[in-house]
Protein backbone atom coordinates (compact mmCIF):
# COMPACT_ATOMS: atom_id res chain seq x y z
CA UNK A 1 0.00 0.00 0.00
CA UNK A 2 1.36 3.40 -0.96
CA UNK A 3 1.06 6.15 1.62
CA UNK A 4 0.86 9.72 0.52
CA UNK A 5 1.62 12.70 2.68
CA UNK A 6 -2.05 13.67 2.52
CA UNK A 7 -3.32 10.26 3.59
CA UNK A 8 -0.90 10.12 6.53
CA UNK A 9 -1.92 13.59 7.66
CA UNK A 10 -5.61 12.67 7.44
CA UNK A 11 -5.13 9.57 9.58
CA UNK A 12 -2.98 11.57 11.97
CA UNK A 13 -5.75 14.15 12.25
CA UNK A 14 -8.07 11.42 13.52
CA UNK A 15 -5.46 10.54 16.14
CA UNK A 16 -5.29 14.18 17.22
CA UNK A 17 -9.09 14.42 17.43
CA UNK A 18 -9.22 11.28 19.52
CA UNK A 19 -6.44 12.33 21.92
CA UNK A 20 -7.64 15.91 22.36
CA UNK A 21 -11.32 14.88 22.39
CA UNK A 22 -12.19 17.50 19.79
CA UNK A 23 -14.06 16.31 16.68
CA UNK A 24 -13.60 19.66 14.92
CA UNK A 25 -9.82 19.85 15.36
CA UNK A 26 -8.03 20.58 12.08
CA UNK A 27 -4.27 20.14 11.69
CA UNK A 28 -1.82 21.27 9.04
CA UNK A 29 1.93 20.79 8.60
CA UNK A 30 2.48 24.10 10.40
CA UNK A 31 0.38 23.23 13.46
CA UNK A 32 2.44 23.39 16.66
CA UNK A 33 1.79 22.93 20.36
CA UNK A 34 1.29 26.70 20.61
CA UNK A 35 -1.99 26.43 18.70
CA UNK A 36 -3.27 23.54 20.80
CA UNK A 37 -2.80 24.51 24.47
CA UNK A 38 -3.57 20.95 25.63
CA UNK A 39 -0.63 19.64 23.56
CA UNK A 40 1.97 19.33 26.30
CA UNK A 41 4.81 16.92 27.00
CA UNK A 42 2.38 14.30 28.33
CA UNK A 43 -0.22 14.43 25.54
CA UNK A 44 2.70 14.46 23.08
CA UNK A 45 3.64 10.96 24.23
CA UNK A 46 -0.01 9.89 24.25
CA UNK A 47 -0.18 11.10 20.64
CA UNK A 48 2.96 9.19 19.72
CA UNK A 49 1.74 5.94 21.26
CA UNK A 50 -1.66 6.35 19.58
CA UNK A 51 0.02 7.04 16.23
CA UNK A 52 2.22 3.95 16.68
CA UNK A 53 -0.93 1.81 17.04
CA UNK A 54 -2.72 3.37 14.08
CA UNK A 55 0.27 3.09 11.75
CA UNK A 56 1.60 -0.19 13.26
CA UNK A 57 5.11 1.16 13.75
CA UNK A 58 7.55 1.86 16.59
CA UNK A 59 9.02 5.32 17.15
CA UNK A 60 12.04 5.96 19.36
CA UNK A 61 11.35 8.05 22.46
CA UNK A 62 14.50 10.10 21.83
CA UNK A 63 13.50 11.10 18.30
CA UNK A 64 9.91 12.12 19.03
CA UNK A 65 11.12 14.87 21.37
CA UNK A 66 12.59 16.79 18.46
CA UNK A 67 9.33 17.05 16.51
CA UNK A 68 8.50 20.75 16.33
CA UNK A 69 5.24 20.59 14.35
CA UNK A 70 2.77 18.28 12.63
CA UNK A 71 4.73 18.42 9.37
CA UNK A 72 7.81 16.91 11.04
CA UNK A 73 5.63 14.24 12.63
CA UNK A 74 4.19 13.36 9.18
CA UNK A 75 7.73 13.24 7.74
CA UNK A 76 8.84 10.82 10.44
CA UNK A 77 5.76 8.63 9.98
CA UNK A 78 6.30 8.53 6.21
CA UNK A 79 9.88 7.36 6.72
CA UNK A 80 8.82 4.64 9.14
CA UNK A 81 5.88 3.29 7.16
CA UNK A 82 7.83 3.52 3.93
CA UNK A 83 5.56 5.97 2.17
Amino acid sequence: MTHTRESVRTRLQDVFRDVFEDDNLMISDETTAREIPEWDSITHITLVVAAEKVFSIQLRAAEVGKLANVGQMVDLLLVRIGG
Partner: protein, 457 residues
Protein backbone atom coordinates in the same frame (compact mmCIF):
# COMPACT_ATOMS: atom_id res chain seq x y z
CA UNK B 1 41.08 29.34 39.56
CA UNK B 2 40.69 26.84 36.75
CA UNK B 3 37.32 27.88 35.38
CA UNK B 4 36.46 30.02 32.40
CA UNK B 5 37.60 33.12 34.32
CA UNK B 6 41.18 31.87 34.20
CA UNK B 7 43.71 33.30 31.79
CA UNK B 8 44.59 29.77 30.67
CA UNK B 9 41.05 29.17 29.40
CA UNK B 10 41.13 32.45 27.48
CA UNK B 11 44.56 31.82 25.98
CA UNK B 12 43.77 28.26 24.87
CA UNK B 13 40.49 29.41 23.34
CA UNK B 14 42.21 32.29 21.54
CA UNK B 15 44.81 29.91 20.09
CA UNK B 16 42.04 27.44 19.18
CA UNK B 17 40.11 30.12 17.30
CA UNK B 18 43.17 31.27 15.37
CA UNK B 19 44.27 27.75 14.44
CA UNK B 20 40.72 26.66 13.52
CA UNK B 21 40.38 29.69 11.26
CA UNK B 22 43.70 28.81 9.63
CA UNK B 23 43.10 25.07 9.34
CA UNK B 24 39.30 24.63 9.12
CA UNK B 25 39.37 20.96 7.95
CA UNK B 26 41.06 19.98 11.23
CA UNK B 27 38.57 21.69 13.56
CA UNK B 28 37.36 18.46 15.18
CA UNK B 29 40.77 17.29 16.27
CA UNK B 30 41.76 20.83 17.26
CA UNK B 31 38.68 21.10 19.48
CA UNK B 32 39.58 17.80 21.13
CA UNK B 33 43.24 18.80 21.63
CA UNK B 34 42.20 22.15 23.11
CA UNK B 35 39.78 20.42 25.47
CA UNK B 36 42.41 17.94 26.61
CA UNK B 37 45.03 20.69 26.98
CA UNK B 38 42.75 22.76 29.22
CA UNK B 39 41.78 19.66 31.15
CA UNK B 40 45.46 18.85 31.74
CA UNK B 41 46.02 22.27 33.34
CA UNK B 42 43.50 21.48 36.07
CA UNK B 43 45.55 18.86 37.93
CA UNK B 44 48.19 16.15 37.78
CA UNK B 45 47.84 12.92 35.83
CA UNK B 46 46.64 10.83 38.78
CA UNK B 47 43.80 13.22 39.57
CA UNK B 48 42.79 13.41 35.90
CA UNK B 49 42.98 9.69 35.14
CA UNK B 50 39.46 8.82 36.43
CA UNK B 51 37.94 11.53 34.23
CA UNK B 52 39.94 10.33 31.24
CA UNK B 53 38.75 6.82 32.09
CA UNK B 54 35.14 7.96 31.70
CA UNK B 55 35.99 9.39 28.30
CA UNK B 56 37.77 6.23 27.12
CA UNK B 57 35.09 3.92 28.51
CA UNK B 58 32.30 5.86 26.82
CA UNK B 59 34.22 6.24 23.56
CA UNK B 60 34.90 2.51 23.31
CA UNK B 61 31.32 1.83 24.39
CA UNK B 62 29.98 3.77 21.38
CA UNK B 63 31.69 1.32 19.01
CA UNK B 64 30.66 -1.68 21.11
CA UNK B 65 26.93 -0.81 21.10
CA UNK B 66 27.04 0.06 17.41
CA UNK B 67 28.34 -3.46 16.71
CA UNK B 68 26.08 -5.12 19.26
CA UNK B 69 23.06 -2.97 20.27
CA UNK B 70 21.86 -5.50 22.83
CA UNK B 71 24.84 -4.52 25.01
CA UNK B 72 23.50 -0.95 25.39
CA UNK B 73 22.10 -1.55 28.89
CA UNK B 74 25.35 -3.09 30.13
CA UNK B 75 27.51 -0.31 28.66
CA UNK B 76 25.25 2.42 30.05
CA UNK B 77 25.39 0.79 33.50
CA UNK B 78 29.17 0.66 33.29
CA UNK B 79 29.45 4.32 32.24
CA UNK B 80 26.99 5.42 34.95
CA UNK B 81 28.88 3.42 37.59
CA UNK B 82 32.19 5.00 36.56
CA UNK B 83 30.59 8.44 36.67
CA UNK B 84 29.13 7.68 40.13
CA UNK B 85 32.59 6.65 41.36
CA UNK B 86 34.20 9.74 39.84
CA UNK B 87 31.60 12.04 41.42
CA UNK B 88 31.68 10.13 44.73
CA UNK B 89 28.07 8.93 44.73
CA UNK B 90 27.41 6.28 47.38
CA UNK B 91 28.03 3.36 47.42
CA UNK B 92 30.61 3.84 44.64
CA UNK B 93 32.41 6.40 46.79
CA UNK B 94 33.59 3.49 48.97
CA UNK B 95 35.82 2.26 46.13
CA UNK B 96 39.38 3.58 46.61
CA UNK B 97 40.28 6.52 44.36
CA UNK B 98 43.18 8.93 43.84
CA UNK B 99 43.16 11.92 46.15
CA UNK B 100 41.09 14.85 44.87
CA UNK B 101 39.87 13.47 41.56
CA UNK B 102 39.24 16.16 38.96
CA UNK B 103 35.65 15.84 37.77
CA UNK B 104 35.30 19.15 35.91
CA UNK B 105 33.16 18.67 32.82
CA UNK B 106 32.23 15.09 33.74
CA UNK B 107 28.53 15.95 34.21
CA UNK B 108 28.29 17.26 30.67
CA UNK B 109 30.57 14.57 29.26
CA UNK B 110 28.17 12.00 30.71
CA UNK B 111 25.18 13.52 28.88
CA UNK B 112 27.07 13.62 25.59
CA UNK B 113 28.24 10.03 26.00
CA UNK B 114 24.79 8.68 26.90
CA UNK B 115 23.29 10.53 23.93
CA UNK B 116 25.83 8.97 21.57
CA UNK B 117 25.46 5.52 23.12
CA UNK B 118 21.66 5.51 22.73
CA UNK B 119 21.76 6.87 19.18
CA UNK B 120 24.53 4.46 18.16
CA UNK B 121 22.65 1.47 19.53
CA UNK B 122 19.56 2.61 17.61
CA UNK B 123 21.61 2.48 14.42
CA UNK B 124 21.40 6.19 13.67
CA UNK B 125 23.96 6.83 10.96
CA UNK B 126 26.00 9.97 10.46
CA UNK B 127 27.40 9.91 6.91
CA UNK B 128 31.11 10.63 6.83
CA UNK B 129 31.63 10.41 10.57
CA UNK B 130 35.24 9.95 11.72
CA UNK B 131 36.70 9.16 15.16
CA UNK B 132 38.03 12.73 15.42
CA UNK B 133 34.48 14.06 14.97
CA UNK B 134 33.34 12.09 18.02
CA UNK B 135 36.35 13.21 20.09
CA UNK B 136 35.87 16.81 18.98
CA UNK B 137 32.22 16.62 20.00
CA UNK B 138 32.96 15.10 23.40
CA UNK B 139 35.82 17.46 24.26
CA UNK B 140 34.89 20.70 22.41
CA UNK B 141 36.64 23.21 24.67
CA UNK B 142 34.25 26.17 24.68
CA UNK B 143 31.33 24.07 25.98
CA UNK B 144 33.35 21.37 27.73
CA UNK B 145 32.99 22.35 31.38
CA UNK B 146 29.43 23.70 31.57
CA UNK B 147 27.64 23.12 28.26
CA UNK B 148 25.46 23.90 26.40
CA UNK B 149 24.85 20.24 25.54
CA UNK B 150 24.83 20.10 21.78
CA UNK B 151 23.46 17.05 19.94
CA UNK B 152 25.92 15.13 17.81
CA UNK B 153 23.91 15.45 14.58
CA UNK B 154 24.01 19.26 14.90
CA UNK B 155 27.73 19.22 15.70
CA UNK B 156 28.51 16.85 12.86
CA UNK B 157 26.61 18.92 10.29
CA UNK B 158 28.29 22.12 11.44
CA UNK B 159 31.80 20.71 11.60
CA UNK B 160 31.53 19.49 8.00
CA UNK B 161 30.53 22.92 6.72
CA UNK B 162 33.20 25.53 6.06
CA UNK B 163 33.56 28.13 8.80
CA UNK B 164 31.47 31.12 7.74
CA UNK B 165 33.69 34.15 7.15
CA UNK B 166 33.35 37.14 9.45
CA UNK B 167 30.86 37.03 12.29
CA UNK B 168 33.51 38.18 14.73
CA UNK B 169 31.63 41.15 16.13
CA UNK B 170 28.57 39.39 17.63
CA UNK B 171 30.75 36.52 18.84
CA UNK B 172 33.24 38.82 20.58
CA UNK B 173 30.44 40.86 22.14
CA UNK B 174 28.79 37.67 23.37
CA UNK B 175 32.03 36.65 25.09
CA UNK B 176 32.32 40.17 26.56
CA UNK B 177 28.75 40.01 27.85
CA UNK B 178 29.49 36.64 29.39
CA UNK B 179 32.50 37.89 31.34
CA UNK B 180 30.56 40.97 32.45
CA UNK B 181 27.79 38.78 33.84
CA UNK B 182 30.17 36.24 35.35
CA UNK B 183 32.73 38.53 36.96
CA UNK B 184 30.67 41.59 37.87
CA UNK B 185 26.93 40.92 38.03
CA UNK B 186 27.08 37.48 39.60
CA UNK B 187 29.68 38.64 42.16
CA UNK B 188 27.42 41.48 43.28
CA UNK B 189 24.40 39.21 43.65
CA UNK B 190 26.45 36.57 45.46
CA UNK B 191 27.70 39.05 48.01
CA UNK B 192 24.22 40.47 48.41
CA UNK B 193 22.85 36.99 49.09
CA UNK B 194 25.49 36.39 51.77
CA UNK B 195 25.20 39.63 53.71
CA UNK B 196 21.61 39.72 54.81
CA UNK B 197 20.31 39.80 58.38
CA UNK B 198 18.46 36.89 60.00
CA UNK B 199 14.99 38.30 59.50
CA UNK B 200 12.08 37.61 57.13
CA UNK B 201 13.31 40.35 54.78
CA UNK B 202 16.87 39.01 55.05
CA UNK B 203 15.76 35.46 54.20
CA UNK B 204 13.73 36.73 51.23
CA UNK B 205 16.71 38.74 49.98
CA UNK B 206 19.14 35.83 50.36
CA UNK B 207 16.86 33.44 48.49
CA UNK B 208 16.17 35.86 45.63
CA UNK B 209 19.71 37.22 45.31
CA UNK B 210 21.20 33.71 45.16
CA UNK B 211 18.88 32.77 42.27
CA UNK B 212 19.89 35.93 40.41
CA UNK B 213 23.59 35.18 41.15
CA UNK B 214 23.24 31.71 39.68
CA UNK B 215 21.36 33.03 36.64
CA UNK B 216 24.02 35.69 35.93
CA UNK B 217 26.84 33.22 36.55
CA UNK B 218 25.53 30.31 34.50
CA UNK B 219 24.16 32.40 31.64
CA UNK B 220 27.50 34.26 31.60
CA UNK B 221 29.43 31.01 31.24
CA UNK B 222 26.99 29.99 28.47
CA UNK B 223 27.50 33.31 26.65
CA UNK B 224 31.27 32.76 26.71
CA UNK B 225 30.90 29.21 25.35
CA UNK B 226 28.50 30.29 22.61
CA UNK B 227 30.71 33.25 21.65
CA UNK B 228 33.88 31.17 21.34
CA UNK B 229 31.87 28.45 19.59
CA UNK B 230 30.74 30.89 16.91
CA UNK B 231 34.34 31.96 16.33
CA UNK B 232 35.24 28.38 15.40
CA UNK B 233 32.09 27.97 13.29
CA UNK B 234 29.95 26.09 15.80
CA UNK B 235 26.47 27.20 16.82
CA UNK B 236 25.96 25.78 20.29
CA UNK B 237 22.28 25.76 21.30
CA UNK B 238 20.97 28.57 23.48
CA UNK B 239 20.60 27.61 27.13
CA UNK B 240 18.42 30.43 28.49
CA UNK B 241 15.31 32.18 27.19
CA UNK B 242 14.17 34.80 29.74
CA UNK B 243 13.49 32.19 32.46
CA UNK B 244 12.40 34.77 35.03
CA UNK B 245 9.35 35.51 32.88
CA UNK B 246 8.08 31.92 33.14
CA UNK B 247 4.61 31.66 34.63
CA UNK B 248 4.97 28.12 35.93
CA UNK B 249 7.71 25.75 37.01
CA UNK B 250 7.53 23.59 33.86
CA UNK B 251 7.66 26.68 31.67
CA UNK B 252 10.67 27.81 33.73
CA UNK B 253 12.54 24.63 32.84
CA UNK B 254 11.71 25.16 29.16
CA UNK B 255 13.65 28.41 29.47
CA UNK B 256 16.43 27.60 32.00
CA UNK B 257 19.32 25.28 31.17
CA UNK B 258 17.34 24.38 28.06
CA UNK B 259 19.84 21.93 26.60
CA UNK B 260 19.87 19.84 29.80
CA UNK B 261 16.06 20.03 30.11
CA UNK B 262 15.65 18.81 26.54
CA UNK B 263 18.19 16.05 27.10
CA UNK B 264 16.25 14.86 30.16
CA UNK B 265 12.99 15.08 28.19
CA UNK B 266 14.37 12.96 25.34
CA UNK B 267 16.36 10.40 27.33
CA UNK B 268 14.47 10.09 30.64
CA UNK B 269 10.94 11.52 30.51
CA UNK B 270 9.88 10.39 27.03
CA UNK B 271 11.12 6.77 27.28
CA UNK B 272 9.74 6.43 30.80
CA UNK B 273 6.29 7.84 29.99
CA UNK B 274 6.13 6.02 26.66
CA UNK B 275 6.74 2.70 28.43
CA UNK B 276 4.15 3.47 31.10
CA UNK B 277 1.54 4.61 28.56
CA UNK B 278 2.18 1.63 26.28
CA UNK B 279 1.40 -0.77 29.12
CA UNK B 280 -1.63 1.18 30.37
CA UNK B 281 -4.59 0.97 27.98
CA UNK B 282 -6.85 3.23 30.08
CA UNK B 283 -6.33 6.71 28.67
CA UNK B 284 -7.67 8.37 31.83
CA UNK B 285 -4.54 7.26 33.69
CA UNK B 286 -2.09 8.75 31.15
CA UNK B 287 -2.01 12.28 32.62
CA UNK B 288 -1.23 10.88 36.07
CA UNK B 289 1.49 8.67 34.63
CA UNK B 290 2.84 11.90 33.14
CA UNK B 291 2.88 13.50 36.59
CA UNK B 292 4.75 10.48 37.96
CA UNK B 293 7.25 10.64 35.07
CA UNK B 294 7.85 14.34 35.71
CA UNK B 295 8.46 13.65 39.39
CA UNK B 296 11.04 10.96 38.58
CA UNK B 297 12.71 12.94 35.76
CA UNK B 298 13.16 16.09 37.82
CA UNK B 299 14.38 14.09 40.81
CA UNK B 300 17.05 12.43 38.65
CA UNK B 301 17.99 15.81 37.15
CA UNK B 302 18.52 17.14 40.68
CA UNK B 303 20.58 14.11 41.63
CA UNK B 304 22.74 14.56 38.51
CA UNK B 305 24.07 17.77 40.07
CA UNK B 306 25.97 15.86 42.74
CA UNK B 307 25.98 13.35 45.61
CA UNK B 308 24.79 14.04 49.14
CA UNK B 309 21.60 15.01 50.97
CA UNK B 310 21.55 18.57 49.54
CA UNK B 311 21.23 17.28 45.99
CA UNK B 312 18.69 14.62 46.99
CA UNK B 313 16.60 17.37 48.58
CA UNK B 314 17.11 19.54 45.51
CA UNK B 315 15.86 16.74 43.27
CA UNK B 316 12.86 16.11 45.52
CA UNK B 317 11.90 19.81 45.50
CA UNK B 318 12.31 20.00 41.71
CA UNK B 319 10.17 16.89 41.28
CA UNK B 320 7.48 18.14 43.66
CA UNK B 321 7.38 21.52 41.90
CA UNK B 322 6.96 19.92 38.47
CA UNK B 323 4.36 17.41 39.71
CA UNK B 324 2.30 20.08 41.49
CA UNK B 325 2.22 22.32 38.41
CA UNK B 326 1.12 19.52 36.13
CA UNK B 327 -1.51 18.32 38.64
CA UNK B 328 -2.81 21.89 39.00
CA UNK B 329 -3.07 22.21 35.21
CA UNK B 330 -4.96 18.91 34.96
CA UNK B 331 -7.36 19.84 37.75
CA UNK B 332 -8.01 23.29 36.33
CA UNK B 333 -8.78 21.84 32.91
CA UNK B 334 -11.06 19.22 34.42
CA UNK B 335 -13.02 21.58 36.68
CA UNK B 336 -12.99 24.83 34.71
CA UNK B 337 -12.89 23.45 31.17
CA UNK B 338 -10.60 24.50 28.34
CA UNK B 339 -12.06 27.96 27.71
CA UNK B 340 -12.09 29.15 31.32
CA UNK B 341 -8.60 27.73 31.92
CA UNK B 342 -7.28 29.67 28.93
CA UNK B 343 -8.96 32.86 30.18
CA UNK B 344 -7.46 32.38 33.64
CA UNK B 345 -3.97 31.81 32.23
CA UNK B 346 -4.27 34.97 30.18
CA UNK B 347 -5.32 37.07 33.18
CA UNK B 348 -2.52 39.51 34.04
CA UNK B 349 -3.04 39.33 37.79
CA UNK B 350 -3.02 35.52 37.84
CA UNK B 351 0.04 35.38 35.56
CA UNK B 352 1.96 37.83 37.77
CA UNK B 353 1.22 35.76 40.88
CA UNK B 354 2.26 32.55 39.11
CA UNK B 355 5.48 34.19 37.90
CA UNK B 356 6.36 35.21 41.45
CA UNK B 357 5.47 31.77 42.77
CA UNK B 358 7.71 30.12 40.15
CA UNK B 359 10.64 32.36 41.09
CA UNK B 360 10.05 31.70 44.80
CA UNK B 361 9.87 27.94 44.38
CA UNK B 362 13.02 27.88 42.25
CA UNK B 363 14.78 30.04 44.86
CA UNK B 364 13.73 27.57 47.53
CA UNK B 365 15.07 24.66 45.44
CA UNK B 366 18.40 26.45 44.92
CA UNK B 367 18.69 27.12 48.64
CA UNK B 368 19.77 23.46 48.88
CA UNK B 369 23.10 24.58 47.34
CA UNK B 370 23.94 27.19 49.97
CA UNK B 371 22.06 26.51 53.19
CA UNK B 372 23.84 24.59 55.90
CA UNK B 373 22.34 22.01 58.21
CA UNK B 374 21.48 24.60 60.85
CA UNK B 375 18.44 25.49 58.76
CA UNK B 376 16.74 22.34 60.04
CA UNK B 377 17.52 23.32 63.65
CA UNK B 378 16.16 26.80 62.85
CA UNK B 379 12.96 25.38 61.45
CA UNK B 380 12.51 23.44 64.70
CA UNK B 381 11.99 26.74 66.50
CA UNK B 382 8.54 28.19 65.99
CA UNK B 383 9.73 31.81 65.70
CA UNK B 384 12.46 30.97 63.14
CA UNK B 385 10.10 28.78 61.12
CA UNK B 386 7.60 31.66 61.10
CA UNK B 387 10.33 34.06 59.93
CA UNK B 388 11.25 31.71 57.07
CA UNK B 389 7.61 31.35 56.07
CA UNK B 390 7.18 35.13 56.12
CA UNK B 391 10.38 35.47 54.08
CA UNK B 392 8.97 33.17 51.41
CA UNK B 393 5.69 35.09 51.30
CA UNK B 394 7.60 38.38 51.02
CA UNK B 395 9.73 36.98 48.21
CA UNK B 396 6.62 35.79 46.37
CA UNK B 397 4.89 39.16 46.70
CA UNK B 398 7.99 41.19 45.75
CA UNK B 399 8.98 38.97 42.82
CA UNK B 400 5.40 38.97 41.47
CA UNK B 401 5.42 42.77 41.30
CA UNK B 402 9.04 43.20 40.14
CA UNK B 403 8.90 40.49 37.46
CA UNK B 404 5.56 41.82 36.16
CA UNK B 405 7.14 45.26 35.77
CA UNK B 406 10.24 43.68 34.22
CA UNK B 407 8.14 41.81 31.64
CA UNK B 408 6.31 45.05 30.79
CA UNK B 409 9.69 46.54 29.90
CA UNK B 410 10.32 43.83 27.28
CA UNK B 411 9.57 46.07 24.27
CA UNK B 412 11.80 48.85 25.63
CA UNK B 413 14.67 46.44 26.31
CA UNK B 414 14.27 44.93 22.84
CA UNK B 415 14.48 48.35 21.16
CA UNK B 416 17.54 49.36 23.23
CA UNK B 417 19.17 46.04 22.38
CA UNK B 418 18.44 46.50 18.66
CA UNK B 419 19.85 50.04 18.79
CA UNK B 420 23.02 48.83 20.56
CA UNK B 421 23.43 46.04 18.01
CA UNK B 422 23.19 48.46 15.10
CA UNK B 423 25.76 50.76 16.73
CA UNK B 424 28.11 47.87 17.44
CA UNK B 425 27.78 46.57 13.91
CA UNK B 426 30.23 49.30 12.87
CA UNK B 427 33.92 48.89 13.60
CA UNK B 428 34.15 51.91 15.90
CA UNK B 429 31.00 50.95 17.78
CA UNK B 430 32.28 47.40 18.17
CA UNK B 431 35.60 48.60 19.54
CA UNK B 432 33.90 50.93 22.00
CA UNK B 433 31.49 48.16 23.05
CA UNK B 434 34.29 45.66 23.63
CA UNK B 435 36.51 48.23 25.36
CA UNK B 436 33.71 49.17 27.77
CA UNK B 437 33.05 45.54 28.69
CA UNK B 438 36.76 44.76 29.08
CA UNK B 439 37.37 47.92 31.13
CA UNK B 440 34.56 47.16 33.58
CA UNK B 441 35.63 43.53 34.01
CA UNK B 442 39.35 44.36 34.41
CA UNK B 443 38.70 47.26 36.77
CA UNK B 444 36.41 45.08 38.83
CA UNK B 445 39.07 42.37 39.05
CA UNK B 446 41.97 44.77 39.70
CA UNK B 447 40.23 46.83 42.32
CA UNK B 448 38.89 43.63 43.89
CA UNK B 449 35.61 45.42 44.48
CA UNK B 450 34.14 42.00 45.18
CA UNK B 451 35.83 38.60 45.35
CA UNK B 452 35.54 36.64 42.10
CA UNK B 453 32.59 34.26 42.25
CA UNK B 454 33.08 30.54 41.74
CA UNK B 455 32.06 29.27 38.31
CA UNK B 456 28.91 27.16 38.30
CA UNK B 457 29.52 23.73 36.78
Amino acid sequence: MGGVISGVYLIINAILVLVCRTLPPYRSILLAIAGLTWWSTLGDLSSLTPGLGLLVLGYVGIYVVRACPTLLGAVVCLVLSWFAWLRLYPPFSLIPHPISMIDVGSMFLLFRLLHLLVESAAGVSYPGVRPQHILGYLLALPAFSSGPIQRFDDFHQQIQRPTPPGGWAPALLRVGDGYLKLVVVSALFLEWSQTTPASPLGYATSLGAYTLYLYANFSGVTDIAIGFGRMVGLNFPENFDRPLEATNFLDFWNRWHISASQWCRDYIFNPLLKSLVSYTPTAAYHPWLGVLSLLITFFLMGLWHGPGPAFVLYGILLGIGAAIVKTWQLLLRRHLGKTLTRSLNQSGFYAAGCRGLTFTWMSLCLACFWMDKTIFQDLGEVSKARDWAMGLVMLWAASSVILELWSKLDPLRASVHARMESLQAHVVGLQIGLACRAAIVILFMMLQVRPLPPQVY
